[in-house]
């Protein structure tokens, strides 16, 4: 990261960019594509920015470097800016996001021996689509009866979309994720190895690591996050609130550049090229053929099974994907409250209001003439099929937003929602 010195220059939108040279961190996953594409195709450059991308091996590195000022901005898991602002992830540091980088992209995969046992105990529930965790509940009950140790399931970070999606899926089948299974964290590139070694029985991870496990014959995917929560928020662009305040124009320029990249990425003809950019440009250390499956949505649930075309496996732009819906993050916040991950007495809505900034997004979007939702929140779980969102400027084509169990999340009433949830560990902290 350069010094703040004589870095400022007028950008293409006529306003002065406070900081031309910025360092942006990312984790090598299929959904780092917006950052890689913005760099490779010159979208950062057209906004007057000189961006160096910094590949970070862990989310903890991203958090530390942002909190210590060694990165200007970074790709983050959707709950991270909120968790950091509340002081439960690292030092209490007000952070915010004004841009969602993608929707969907995760999946829950299990080892073959576990799948066989699920099939033996509850074949009917595995035939349903989307697959529920009922067969897993049957295995857990059976293991308990035989005094076997609890199943070990992995996610990628304590405050991750993956952790809350997995917990949600388990608890819908009355599995208590804190008591009935052992939840661990394993870095994505090591997931398949751990599964093969028998150190874990299953995991929830982002692409390309479900596809890679299926292609490598190491596991079987039960459900994608798109089936679990259609078009749920995944990665965001995070900065500290202090940085955003000091560099408002640089921030908007970053958002504009990434919006262009996301727009380009959602033209389906470009997806195969992205796989090559990520692989050959060494952004992600996985073969282009596996990355192409993730990015084009040619998804196989099990080794040897035919490929299912899942167009929305990864969504980068359509359905107003980049708009940072407060209702998206508030759903994660409700899950954090549900599992006792929030300090007592936190006002969920107020915390999300500070950490998620659709107002800043609208400013950047207006500069590139992009249509925006008028509201900051929407009912989640309301639409089973594509729908139209009316705005003052016109209509936005939206994708479904259903949860696999058919529940609805009313972001204006998060506490009523919390009270209705079947399993929860710490109602008291939902305050």
């Amino acid at each position: 990261m350069g010094s703040d010195g004589d870095d400022s220059q007028p950008g293409p939108h006529g306003v002065e960019i406070e900081r031309r040279r910025v360092t942006v961190g990312y984790v090598p996953l299929a959904d780092c594509a917006p950052l890689a594409v913005a760099q490779r195709l010159g979208f950062f450059q057209s906004e007057g920015l000189e961006v160096s991308l910094s590949a970070e091996p862990s989310w903890a590195n991203i958090r530390d470097k942002i909190q210590l000022g060694q990165l200007d901005a970074a790709q983050m898991l959707a709950p991270m800016p909120l968790a950091a602002s509340l002081g439960i992830d690292g030092r209490a540091t007000p952070m915010l996001t004004a841009l969602t980088l993608n929707l969907n992209g995760n999946g829950i995969t299990v080892a073959h021996p576990l799948y066989e046992r699920m099939q033996a105990l509850a074949p009917g529930s595995l035939a349903q689509s989307p697959v529920s965790a009922e067969a897993l509940a049957a295995v857990i009950a059976d293991r308990r009866a035989r005094a076997e140790p609890p199943l070990r399931l992995a996610t990628v970070y304590p405050f991750s979309t993956h952790a809350y999606q997995l917990r949600y899926w388990l608890s819908a089948a009355s599995i208590d994720p804190d008591r009935d299974v052992c939840l661990r964290v394993v870095p994505p590139p090591l997931m398949a190895t751990h599964l093969r070694a028998g150190w874990i029985d299953g995991y929830c991870v982002g692409e390309p690591w479900n596809s890679a496990a299926v292609v490598g014959g190491d596991g079987r995917t039960l459900i994608t996050s798109h089936e679990l929560w259609a078009n749920g928020q995944e990665k965001v662009l995070g900065v500290t609130a202090a940085w955003a305040e000091r560099h408002p124009n640089t921030h908007r320029a970053l958002i504009r550049a990434l919006l262009s990249a996301c727009q380009w990425l959602d033209q389906s003809a470009n997806r195969a090229a992205v796989a090559r950019i990520l692989s050959e440009g060494a952004y992600v250390d996985v073969s282009a053929s596996v990355l192409e499956r993730s990015l084009t949505g040619a998804f196989a649930y099990a080794p040897g099974e035919p490929v299912t075309q899942v167009d929305d496996l990864l969504v980068f732009h359509r359905y107003a994907a980049n708009f940072p819906w407060r209702s998206h993050t508030l759903w994660y916040a409700s899950q954090m409250a549900r599992w006792g991950h929030l300090p007592a007495g936190v006002d969920l809505s107020a915390a999300v209001q500070q950490a998620v900034r659709p107002d800043l997004f609208r400013e950047a979007a207006a500069e590139v003439g992009l249509l925006c939702p008028d509201e900051d929140m929407k009912l989640e779980g309301e639409h089973d099929a594509p729908w139209s969102l009316e705005t003052a400027g016109g209509v936005i084509a939206m994708g479904p937003d259903r949860f696999f169990d058919g529940t609805r999340f009313d972001p204006w009433q998060p506490h009523e929602y919390l009270a209705r949830l079947p399993v929860s560990s710490a109602r008291a902290s939902a305050g």
């Binding site: 091996p57 530390d64 060694q70 070990r152 939840l183 964290v185 090591l190 070694a197 150190w199 991950h341």
Partner: protein
């Protein structure tokens, strides 16, 4: 009682030296694990007071999760409340090392633990850079020698004349001797 440390590192040469330095400084080093190991299981079995981890390894996130689980697991130093921590965390991050420590370890002890680790990670970087430089110098010298032989054969001149020719080209074109040598060798292929 001595603070019991676990090291997560995939570079055996460095971690061996770090182990002995930590022992000399009064720490009890339990073991070193690398990326091919089941870190969660090791942590549960060993219950270390502190962990030193190469910040280039993705395994940090496994430790983050354990740190959230309760008091018996070490937490990242960046979370400690002391004022000097940001500096310590910054120095550590620059050196590419991360530390995790359980509640109740004295700040001065944490400081010395992190300092020993930073010192070793920096020394390792320097050693690696020096090695790279030495190898580069050797390669350059070899290229110049071979280019000299090529000129001697091609123009039927002695060693000194060949060397003079090489130097003149380098000076005329404002290139280094080794760059000219490599060019000549590439052309001659």
């Amino acid at each position: 009682m001595a603070v019991r440390v676990l090291i997560v590192d995939a570079k055996p040469a460095r971690s061996q030296r770090l182990e002995s330095a930590l022992r000399e400084a009064g720490f009890d080093v339990l073991m070193t694990v690398d990326e091919t190991d089941d870190l969660s299981a090791r942590m549960e079995a060993q219950e270390p007071d502190a962990v030193i981890v190469d910040a280039d390894l993705p395994s940090r996130d496994t430790l983050e999760n354990l740190g959230q689980l309760g008091r018996r697991y070490p937490k990242p130093v960046i979370m400690l409340a002391e004022n000097e921590v940001p500096d310590m965390a910054r120095d550590a991050a620059r050196a590419g090392v991360s530390a995790y420590v359980v509640d109740g370890v004295a700040p001065s002890v944490i400081r010395s633990l992190v300092d020993v680790a930073i010192g070793h990670f920096q020394a390792h970087h320097q050693l690696r850079n020096e090695l790279k430089r030495t190898q580069q110098t050797l390669a350059e010298r070899k290229a110049v020698d071979r280019a000299k032989c090529l000129l001697m054969e091609r123009h039927g001149v002695g060693e000194e004349a060949a060397y003079g020719r090489l130097r003149k080209i380098a000076m005329d074109r404002r290139l280094s001797l080794s760059a000219v040598a490599r060019e000549l060798l590439d052309d001659g292929r």
